[in-house]
Amino acid sequence: MMKNISLTKLIFLVVAFLPGRPVEAQDADALIQKLRSKMETVKSYEADGVMKTTVTYLKVPEAKVKLYFKRPDKLKIRNENGISLVPKSILGISIQNIFSGQYTALFSGYDSNGLRILKLIPKDENSDIALSTLYVDESNLLIRKAKITTKENGTYELEMTYGKYASYALPDKLICSFNLKDYKLPKGVTFDYDDGSKKQTPLIQSAKGQVEIRYTSYLINKPIPDNMF
C-alpha cells in the first residue's frame, strides 16, 4: 500500500513538473501579449472603405463606408451617402477587441500555410463567445484568420489581408462570414411582379452571409467623440 502511494505521488510530481505544457501555455501568453501590444498602439481609427455584402436574400450595391473604432470595443460603420445594412456580427466582434476579457490560451499546432493556431477559451461563463481560434503569422505578429464560435449566434469567420498598415495590425481587406437567419416577408405585402423567369440570387446559396471590406485609408489615433457610436 505504502509502495502504491509513493508511486502515485511520484507520477504526479513528474507530470506536474514536466516542461512541455506549462511552457507552451507561457509561450501562448507571450505571443498574445506581443500581438496585443502591437494592436494597442491603435487607440482609435477612422477609416474609409468599400463594403460588399453577399447574402442570399439581399441585392445591394457596393457601398463607400466610413468605419470608426475606439478602444476598448466601439465600432461603427456608416454610409454617409446612402444606406448600408451592416451585419450585427461585425459590430459585435472585431479583431481589435478579440483579446478583451480573461481567457485560457492554448497552441494547437500549425496550419498548412505555416500559421500558428491559437485557441482562446473565455474564463467568463457568461461570455457569448465559446471559443476563438486564431491563425497567427508569428514573424509579422499578425492575425491572418479567426474563427469565433458563439453560444447564441453560430460561428463567425474573419479573414484579414494586410498591406500598408500592417505595422499597426490594421488590415487592407477584411472578409467576414457569418450565420444568417431566414428571410420571409409577411404574405400580401409585396404584390411582386412575377416575370416567369428563374430568380437571380447571389452565388452564395447557404445559411451563411459574407461581408468584404476593402480599406482605402486609415486615420490612426485620431480622437473620436463617443457620440459617434
Binding site: 460588399k52 453577399t54 436574400y57 439581399l58 441585392k59 445591394v60 450595391p61 457596393e62 446612402g82 444606406i83 448600408s84 445594412l85 451592416v86 451585419p87 450585427k88 456580427s89 459590430l91 457569418f178 444568417l180 437567419k181 431566414d182 428571410y183 420571409k184 416577408l185 409577411p186 400580401g188 405585402v189 409585396t190 404584390f191 411582386d192 411582379y193 412575377d194 416575370d195 416567369g196 423567369s197 430568380k199 437571380q200 440570387t201 447571389p202 452565388l203 452564395i204 452571409g209
Partner: protein, 293 residues
C-alpha cells in the same frame, strides 16, 4: 378631330364624378404620408423583421421620399384601375343613358372616329390621374421625407437601389403604368359600348379587375401556368420590374440595370394587344349596333 377631342375632354371634366378620383387619390396619399411620417418605423419593422435580426437597419434613412412613393404606388396601382373605370365606363353608356348618343352619331364623323376620340379622351384623363399621383406621391414625399437609397421588399429578396439610380426608374414605371391603366380603360370602354347605363360597365370592370387580380396573386399552381400568364392584371404589375436590378458575376448589383427587360417588354406588348383587342371589339360592335337611345 381635335375639336371633337376638346369637346370630349370638356364633357369628362365637367362631371363632378371625374374629380372623385383626384380627390380619392389625394386623400389616400396624404393619409399614407401622414401615417408613415408619424409611425413609419413600425411599418418598416414589420417589413424588415427578419433582416433586422441579422443586420443593423438605419430606419431613419430607409424611410425616405423614394421609399414612401414606392409604398404609395404599390398600394394605389392595384386600386386606381377602379377609378379609371369610373370615367371610361361612362364614356359611351353615359351618352346612351342621357339620350345623346343618337344625336352624337348624326354628326359628320364616322362611328370609328367617334370611339377613337372618346377613348383618346379617356386615356388623357388616365394620364392626368397618373401625373397627379406622381406629383403627390413622388414630389410631395421627396419634399416631406427627403431622398436616399430605396429598399424594395420582394417575396424572396430585398433590393437596394442607390438614390442617383432611382428617378429614371420612376419615370419608366409611370410610363408603363399609363399603358397598364389604359388597358383597364379600354376594357371599361368596351363594356360601355354594350350598356345603356354607366353603372353596369363600371361595376363589371371593377369585378373583372378584382377577380383577375386575385387569380394573379393567389399562387395556385393550377392557374399559375395556365391562366395567370394571359391575364392582363398579371402584366399590369410589370412597372415594378423597373425597380429590380441585375447582378454582376462578382455578386454585386449593376447600377442602372434592369433584371429582366425582355419580360417587361413582353408584358408591355401583351397589354398593347389587350388594348387593341378591346378597342377593336368595341369599334366593331358599335358600328353594327342599332342605336336607339
Amino acid at each position: 378631330m381635335w375639336k371633337l377631342l376638346q369637346i370630349e375632354l370638356f364633357k369628362i371634366f365637367r362631371k363632378p364624378r371625374t374629380y372623385i378620383s383626384f380627390g380619392a387619390i389625394a386623400a389616400i396619399i396624404i393619409l399614407i404620408q401622414l401615417g408613415l411620417k408619424f409611425d413609419g418605423r413600425s411599418y418598416l419593422e414589420l417589413l424588415m423583421g427578419d433582416i433586422s435580426a441579422s443586420f443593423e437597419v438605419p430606419y431613419d434613412k430607409v424611410l425616405n421620399g423614394y421609399f414612401v412613393a414606392f409604398v404609395i404606388l404599390n398600394a394605389l396601382l392595384i386600386h386606381v384601375p377602379l377609378l379609371v373605370a369610373l370615367v371610361a365606363g361612362d364614356s359611351v353608356a353615359g351618352e346612351a343613358n342621357m339620350g345623346t348618343l343618337r344625336l352624337l352619331i348624326t354628326k359628320p364623323i364616322t362611328r370609328t372616329q367617334l370611339l377613337l376620340v372618346k377613348y383618346a379622351a379617356t386615356v388623357i384623363y388616365t394620364v392626368m390621374l397618373l401625373a397627379w399621383m406622381a406629383i403627390l406621391a413622388l414630389l410631395m414625399s421627396i419634399l416631406f421625407f427627403g431622398t436616399n437609397d430605396i429598399l424594395i421588399a420582394r417575396n424572396d429578396v430585398m433590393e437596394q437601389i442607390e438614390k442617383a439610380d432611382i428617378l429614371w426608374r420612376y419615370m419608366a414605371a409611370f410610363g408603363f403604368a399609363a399603358v397598364a391603366l389604359s388597358t383597364v380603360a379600354a376594357l371599361a370602354f368596351l363594356l360601355s359600348v354594350f350598356a345603356d347605363n354607366s353603372i353596369g360597365p363600371i361595376v363589371a370592370t371593377m369585378c373583372i379587375v378584382i377577380v383577375f387580380t386575385i387569380l394573379s396573386e393567389l399562387k395556385i399552381p393550377m392557374y399559375d401556368k395556365t391562366v395567370k400568364p394571359y391575364l392582363f392584371t398579371s402584366h399590369m404589375l410589370a412597372w415594378k420590374g423597373f425597380f429590380y436590378s441585375r447582378m454582376g458575376p462578382d455578386n454585386s448589383v449593376i447600377r442602372g440595370s434592369i433584371e429582366n427587360l425582355p419580360a417587361i417588354g413582353r408584358s408591355f406588348w401583351i397589354l398593347i394587344g389587350y388594348i387593341v383587342a378591346f378597342l377593336g371589339t368595341a369599334i366593331i360592335s358599335f358600328k353594327r349596333k342599332d342605336i336607339l337611345s
